[in-house]
């Protein structure tokens, strides 16, 4: 047995500090890297038109990633968001085209505000089903939301017998004529959907950082038992995150139906995976307790710009998939390195104090 000196706490070096800052900003660095790379490699990349198209793509995934981030912070997962997108799109299409039959051959048609409210409620409802399965029936989040993934997709297909609801131009008589505006409209030159991302993102960030609700979401993911013993109503928090994720997915469902002016039951397949990828890329930890809304949005931008940029460069779709996967794995590896360094630095600081 060799005799060692007790390790004395060292001062935290400036190198380590700089390294940590670099690692913390890695998602931004990645974002700038892809932007710079594509503005050199892909012609027209910095055209206003291109940027707006990309922003619209990114916004959809960004909205899903926001809901997903809250879920993942509580150490859960929501696989059902893609199906909720499909189901809510079909709901919107159905309500615009067919209204709701009330018997005797009459249908009630709703105006667009009412339709939006109903469709958002559908998304929240599916989220609530997820939440009840997870909190009351103790189903693992992965399995519970896998189940609702299938059920919601099945319902979407059933609603039209697998057909598309076409020509959702609405009618001015029912106050639905501005439905296509949701997807195509602009405000101050910026697409409405991007405004939605900004609003939802700001509200969510505020919830995460400046409300007890946000604090509780992190606490539940960090240590559920300790949170419960501290008086956090764990089940209510979990219900909230799944319902919020359903809400975000419903927004995306409506917007896509509006963009296409049609509702197609297969819409949103595998969207959940992109949302998870964006959240993880933004520094959200699948083991819970860690993540940020801003990070998830930046993550969504990295993924979105990466795939659109590669398309513009003419890279084959197959290569795109491989590159996307590699980037996600790299992000998690770097994240681990950051965690280790951060723990090391704060331990050193506290140890220095204990002397």
């Amino acid at each position: 047995m060799t005799v060692q000196r007790a390790a004395l706490p060292m001062r935290v070096s400036n190198n380590q500090q700089a390294m940590l800052l670099l690692l913390k900003l890695r998602t931004f660095i990645a974002l700038f890297a892809v932007i710079i790379f594509f503005s050199i490699a892909a012609p027209n990349f910095l055209d206003l038109g291109t940027i707006i198209i990309m922003a619209k793509h990114v916004a959809l995934n960004g909205l899903l990633a926001i809901g997903m981030t809250f879920v993942i912070i509580t150490e859960g997962i929501d696989l059902s968001v893609g199906s909720i997108v499909g189901l809510t799109g079909m709901c919107a299409g159905w309500l615009i085209l067919n209204g709701v039959p009330v018997g005797f051959g009459y249908e009630v048609y709703f105006n667009l505000w009412e339709i939006i409210a109903i469709v958002l409620c559908v998304g929240i409802l599916v989220g609530a089903v997820n939440g009840i399965l997870i909190t009351r029936l103790n189903v693992a989040p992965f399995i519970a939301t896998l189940g609702t993934l299938y059920v919601a997709r099945g319902l979407a297909l059933l609603s039209s017998g697998g057909q598309t609801f076409p020509n959702l131009n609405g009618s001015s008589a029912f106050g639905t004529s501005w439905f296509p505006m949701l997807g195509e409209g602009r405000f101050l030159g910026i697409p409405v959907v991007v405004w939605m991302l900004i609003v939802v993102g700001l509200v969510s960030s505020y919830i995460a950082l400046r409300t007890p609700l946000g604090r509780y979401i992190y606490a539940v993911g960090g240590n559920e038992r300790a949170a419960a013993l501290s008086g956090v109503r764990v089940n209510a928090i979990k219900m909230f995150v799944y319902m919020f994720s359903g809400f975000c997915a419903a927004i995306v469902g409506i917007v896509i139906a509006s963009q296409l002016v049609a509702a197609q039951p297969a819409t949103g397949e595998s969207f959940e995976l992109n949302a998870i990828a964006a959240a993880v890329l933004g520094g959200t930890s699948l083991s819970g307790g860690r993540g940020s809304i801003g990070g998830a949005i930046v993550g969504a931008f990295v993924i979105g710009i990466l795939s659109d940029g590669l398309v513009m460069m003419g890279v084959s779709e197959f290569w795109q998939i491989i590159i996307k996967g590699a980037v996600i794995i790299a992000a998690v590896v770097v994240d681990q390195a950051q965690q280790r360094l951060q723990a090391h630095i704060s331990l050193q600081r506290e140890a220095a104090l204990a002397r």
């Binding site: 400046r210 240590n223 300790a226």
Partner: protein, 514 residues
């Protein structure tokens, strides 16, 4: 051979182990003798477990050397130690509940044909033989998760026996066993001794140690305070060495009046999963300014009682009263709002959220104080935290660092701070001094005293005899879920308290097993 009949098999010289913030072992000399039971005894946090882990290769010494058979050795891992014939039975069972008894016994040493195909029949036969030696007819095919805790303990022992060990470390092997199972274990120990196996035996049950030990070593605060052959050793000698002549720095009771009743529990019952009651018709009252100590061995139902108070067991019956008014809230936040705060036994898994900053941990139970409407004022929160950090003299570099970076004592103070921020009337403290060093302990005790003087009612649980005797205004003793003794601080003696804590440790009636 000298006059000493037992050869020294392994010895530690100048063993020192340093963790961030604490010195768990300080220049320890310890001998393990062949064919004998080497007893290791000390209070919680005295360093027994660390010493044991060093021998078993779980931890490595910071300084000092281990000598085995006259040659210096170093164990880098448990498998390294196992290769030297050292086996260990951990206090927390290290079994796989989803696997069979035989699989557990032969884990990593599977009996396999050509190294790949597990010979289940052979394993089962060997497992049955081992279990028969332990006088248990547990089926080798049974899943470990389906066994009682006592039976799991037996499987753990069988696992160690299967290794043909030269040194077997047993950490509180009897804590989960019934009296008849303890007798069986003692017979097995005698058998192992006869075969020349060296046994390192750790237990809190002092009578047990005097009965089966051959050599005894007492640890206190990481140092050896007594080491000798067991002849002539009695319980008072052990206690004297465990506690020491110079008593720890317990803040003495200040003269303050005990006030009116603040908390009352009536007839609290909680059914145990194993049948019988984990908490068995417990009733107690607590007064303002009073420190009420609950003493008992592990598994006496003390923590479970606290969990009942904290609404963790919906199936629990009985009623609670605060200031004479019934407490009917079904959830933790409701009960916190009524003025109850819990400091849980296990800081790591129940008290703190390790990855969150110190600030967020401290305010978790009392965020409402810093909210206007739904907006959380970080400025007010930071100030609130800073006040408590100063008040409790928590040593931190920054309240934004993760709480996991703190030493045990400072983490405990963060938990206490979290509880105090809810402005409680009643503080429940489960083993408040567990796993923290002596300086931090003294500070925690001073804080408890001060809070009591300010009029808080404090209910605290401990398995540390000295602590309960010197800190409490009144002492309750629990055993097997029941209250088996009540003493005022004036009339309590060590013997009386220990005797009350052992009540009911006879074989359980068979009807309870159903």
């Amino acid at each position: 051979m000298s006059g000493d009949p037992h050869r020294i098999l392994l010895s530690i010289r100048g063993g020192t182990k340093v963790y961030p913030g604490t010195r768990a072992l300080d220049n320890v000399d310890f001998d393990v003798r062949e064919g004998a039971v080497n007893v290791l005894v000390g209070e919680n946090g005295a360093g027994k477990s660390t010493l044991m882990k060093v021998i078993a290769g779980v931890e490595q010494l910071t300084a000092g050397e281990i000598v085995m058979d006259g040659r210096p050795v170093s164990f880098a891992s448990t498998s390294d130690a196992a290769a030297h014939g050292i086996g260990i039975i951990f206090q927390e069972l290290n079994l796989f509940p989803n696997m069979t008894v035989a699989d557990n016994i032969f884990i990593t040493r599977e009996k396999a044909r050509f190294g790949i195909d597990i010979d289940a029949r052979d394993q089962n036969k060997a497992a049955s033989e081992l279990l028969r030696r332990l006088e248990h007819d547990i089926s080798p095919d049974a899943l470990v998760g389906d066994l009682r805790i006592g039976e799991q303990q037996i499987v753990e022992i069988a696992k160690a026996l299967a290794q043909d060990v030269r040194i077997l470390i047993m950490d509180e092997p009897t804590s989960a066993l019934s009296a008849s199972e303890v007798e069986i274990l003692f017979r097995v120990i005698a058998d192992l001794k006869a075969r020349g196996v060296a046994i390192v035996y750790i237990s809190h049950r002092l009578e047990e140690l005097v009965r089966i030990g051959d050599y005894v070593t007492v640890l206190r605060d990481g140092r050896i305070t007594g080491s000798r052959a067991m002849d002539g050793v009695d319980v008072p000698w052990i206690v004297r060495n465990m506690i020491g002549a110079a008593s720890k720095d317990y803040a003495r009771a200040t003269d303050h009046a005990i006030g009116r009743e603040v908390f009352r529990a009536e007839d609290v019952c909680l059914k145990s999963r194993r049948g019988g009651f984990a908490v068995d018709h417990v009733s107690l009252t607590l007064h303002a300014g009073e420190i009420l100590g609950i003493y008992g061995l592990m598994g006496a139902g003390r923590s479970e009682f606290f969990e009942c108070v904290m609404a963790q067991h919906p199936s629990a019956t009985g009623s609670f009263f605060i200031d004479g008014k019934p407490m009917r809230e079904r959830n933790v936040s409701g009960r916190i709002a009524r003025g109850i705060a819990l400091i849980p036994e296990d800081r790591k898994t129940e008290g703190l959220i390790q990855i969150l900053p110190i600030r967020e941990n401290m305010t978790l139970s009392s965020l409402k104080k810093f909210v206007s409407g739904f907006h959380l004022s970080l400025k007010r929160e930071r100030k609130g935290v800073a006040d408590f950090v100063r008040d409790l003299t928590i040593k931190i570099a920054s309240a934004e660092n993760a709480v996991s970076s703190l030493s045990g004592g400072n983490q405990q103070k963060v938990v206490i701070g979290k509880a105090l921020m809810t402005n409680p009337k009643i503080l429940l403290m489960d083993e408040p001094s567990r796993g923290i060093d002596i300086g931090a302990k003294a500070e925690v005790f001073r804080v408890m005293r001060r809070l009591a003087a300010e009029g808080l009612g404090i209910l605290f649980v401990t398995s540390d005899l000295e602590e309960v005797l010197s800190l409490s205004d009144r002492i309750l003793v629990m055993s097997n879920g029941r209250i088996t003794g009540e003493f005022s601080s004036a009339e309590a003696t060590q013997d009386a308290v220990v005797a009350a804590a052992a009540v009911g440790h006879a074989p359980e009636p068979a009807t309870l097993e159903a």
